[in-house]
């Protein structure tokens, strides 16, 4: 099925819409004006969700669309550009969800001759979807159903051939765990439950190959620019990621009282040093890896103590914090093992750790009858993960995420469920990092460190992180806009430190790919449009201003180990209103009619 919708350079000008129930596909045109307004990745994804009416249907219903969205930079020589966004209405939050992953799946998917793949429908039986140059076929999943992400990918590749790139769900996605992931090559589109959406369509895996390259407007100049960017990516701005990885946050956050511990009951963890990459690098084998088409190489893969023949495990700050201090776990081998279980089952480590830590506190408070589930007990953590992944025992409840679980438990459980809009919080204690608290509260995806970089403001001289003024709101907007652009172009955020003038440099890249005459001001407007589109989607899903807040635990209750870290409801409400005003929305957060109309 060759492309019949030639788009501008950098694009194919269409998306591939596949009904897995009817086993048919069509190419749907994307006008150049749409592409220029929303770029790709997260931006184009939310546009497609609005166009497909995703807000009108249950995210786990057959009608719900699930989009794999590429970008103009995918397939270009620019470092870190081999990324894709998985976009849908989230079964965890029932709001917009866009999860990004880096892998050859992005390159292969775009070479199928489309700018996005949108799945609708539901297969009658567990199946795999094969996309070959844009032609599709559905085959029975057979013995693949029930396998781990890695085993399913390995077996399917052995069956189809190495030229296919394969995205899979694990047992968690099959069982509709609301924070199940989609995995490829060990990387996960992790947050918000896109794996459950794919599982609800009875699709275990998507295999894709293709050879249709989107043309580039100025290939020679782009190669030169890519060389410069690669050179900069080897410099000091990325040294942290290359040498220690994101896990290097752990000791810093602990020292600043910002390391969420025991379900956010504390901001410091006594055993943090033992879990730190500074320490683990000295006590166990470590290797390093890169995503596809990346020159940074931020993945640090640790072996188990004693070097027992088990394969190593990628360790990032988020899985380290969520499966370590958040659950009171101090043994690195337990955390590594738990991370691997999440990888195999296809579970978002942040939501898994957050929900289990919440359950541990519920047990401690006598709200749950599961005496085995205790903070600091590694066996309990592993048992809980397996129960979640298979929806067995208490896992059936924990598979729903902490918000639904809290509502089911009743009493005051919702006041200490560690979530915003249903999405479990990442590893930033909001009372110690209060610009980030704002970022969490207003995030369209829920509590989120990837769509808002507001922590950067807290880690600066511009504000008092425990008592920011209203000026912090505008700074938070800037970080969110930057993230929206990086997630739509798509470029890895670990590059952000190498740019001198991000908007100007991003415009230059985009123009060399597309032949457009984009300006920094246009890109700034594009970023704001994308954020407004996500807000508009949420409004159509039933968003109300009261959602833009934090659980009661974080409001008026100081951190026990840092009483100066107190966030009042009044301060948060003031910041939220200032944020909304800075976006040009009403102080409650409603975009103007003009802003909505401009979405097209």
């Amino acid at each position: 099925m060759p492309s019949h919708h030639p788009g501008p350079p950098g694009y194919h000008g269409c998306y591939l819409r596949i009904d897995v129930g009817k086993q048919c596909a069509e190419r749907v045109g994307l006008a150049e004006v749409e592409l220029r307004k929303f770029l790709g990745g997260s931006g184009l994804g939310v546009h497609l969700m609005l166009r497909e009416g995703s807000h009108q249907v249950d995210p786990l219903s057959p009608e719900a669309p699930l989009a794999f969205v590429f970008s103009p930079l995918v397939g270009s020589p620019l470092t870190t550009s081999a990324k894709f966004a998985v976009v849908s209405r989230s079964p965890l939050t029932e709001r917009i969800n866009d999860s990004l992953a880096s892998s050859h799946f992005a390159i292969a998917g775009k070479r199928a001759g489309c700018d996005a793949i949108v799945l609708v429908g539901r297969a009658d039986t567990p199946s795999i979807l094969i996309i070959d140059e844009g032609q599709i076929r559905i085959e029975a999943a057979g013995e693949l159903w029930g396998l781990s992400c890695r085993d399913a990918e390995t077996q399917l590749r052995a069956r189809l051939g190495n030229e296919y790139q394969i995205a899979t769900i694990g047992p968690a996605g099959e069982r509709l765990v609301r924070y199940a992931t989609i995995s490829h090559d060990g990387r996960h589109a992790g947050r918000g439950g896109s794996g459950a959406v794919l599982g609800s369509k009875h699709i275990k895996a998507i295999a894709v190959r293709g050879s249709q390259r989107a043309r580039l407007a100025e290939p020679a100049q782009l190669v030169a620019l890519a060389k410069q960017l690669s050179d900069k990516s080897f410099g000091p701005a990325t040294a942290k990621y290359r040498e220690l990885g994101t896990a290097a946050n752990l000791l810093v956050f602990n020292r600043l009282g910002a390391l969420p511990t025991r379900n956010f009951q504390q901001g410091t963890f006594k055993a943090a040093e033992a879990l730190s990459p500074e320490q683990m690098t000295q006590t166990r084998a470590k290797t390093r890896a890169s995503c596809a088409a990346c020159t940074i190489g931020c993945e640090h893969i640790y072996g188990f103590r004693g070097g027992d023949n088990q394969p190593g495990v990628r360790m990032e700050y988020e899985n380290l914090f969520a499966l370590g201090p958040l659950c009171g776990i101090s043994d690195p081998d337990v955390v590594l093992g738990a991370s691997r279980v999440c990888d195999e089952l296809g579970l978002d480590t942040i939501s898994a750790g957050g929900t289990i830590a919440f359950a541990m506190e519920c047990v401690e408070r006598g709200l749950l009858d599961a005496p085995w589930l205790k903070f600091g007990d590694g066996n309990a953590l592993h048992r809980a993960l397996h129960e979640v992944g298979r929806r067995e025992g208490l896992g059936a409840l924990m598979a729903e995420g902490s918000r639904r679980m809290a509502k089911s438990i009743g009493s005051d459980a919702l006041t200490f469920a560690p979530q915003v809009k249903g999405l479990e919080m990442p590893g930033y204690e909001p009372r110690a990092l209060q610009t980030m608290a704002l970022g969490f509260a207003v995030g369209t995806r829920g509590a989120d460190h990837n769509r808002s970089g507001a922590y950067e403001v807290d880690f600066s001289e511009r504000v008092d992180r425990r008592q920011p003024g209203l000026e912090a709101a505008g700074m938070a907007v800037e970080t969110e806009d930057k993230a929206a652009l990086m997630d739509s172009l798509i470029l890895c955020k670990f590059l952000r430190g190498v740019f001198t003038d991000f908007l100007a440099e991003a415009a230059e890249m985009l123009n060399l790919v597309t032949g457009w005459d984009t300006t920094p001001d246009e890109l700034r407007a594009t970023a704001r449009r994308i954020v407004t589109a996500k807000k508009h989607f949420n409004i159509l899903c039933g968003w109300q201003p009261a959602e833009d807040t934090l659980p009661e635990r974080f409001l008026n209750h100081p951190l026990p180990d840092d009483p100066t870290a107190t966030l009042t409801p009044e301060r948060l409400q003031g910041l939220v209103a200032a944020y909304n005003t800075a976006r040009g929305w009403s102080s409650e957060g409603w975009p103007t009619r003009g802003q909505i109309a401009e979405l097209g």
Binding site: K240, A247, A248, N249, V252, G497
Partner: protein, 87 residues
């Protein structure tokens, strides 16, 4: 005057030490003392009494500081860390 310096991440890797004492009554004086004693730390992180781009200083876990003339007091702890907190 001696203050405590705590090193995290790359600065710790380069200095080969997690904590040390350094001499100085101002931020630049302490950084110059560190640069003199830990050449590999200086090479990566310190230039002319200032931290290089990509690194931050924090005083007592309370506030971030960069002005070379920032006054330090006996008993202070100066934290030196990588700037990017994302993960």
């Amino acid at each position: 005057m001696s203050i405590t310096v705590e090193l995290f991440g790359i600065p710790r890797q380069r200095a080969g030490i997690a904590k040390t004492q350094a001499e100085g009554a101002r931020l630049d004086e302490v950084l110059l003392d560190l640069a003199r004693r830990f050449p590999r730390l200086a090479e990566a992180c310190i230039a002319n009494g200032r931290l290089q781009s990509g690194y931050l200083a924090n005083l007592n876990g309370q506030r971030f500081v960069s002005d070379p003339s920032t006054a330090l007091a006996a008993g202070d702890s100066l934290l030196i860390l990588s700037a990017d907190a994302g993960g």
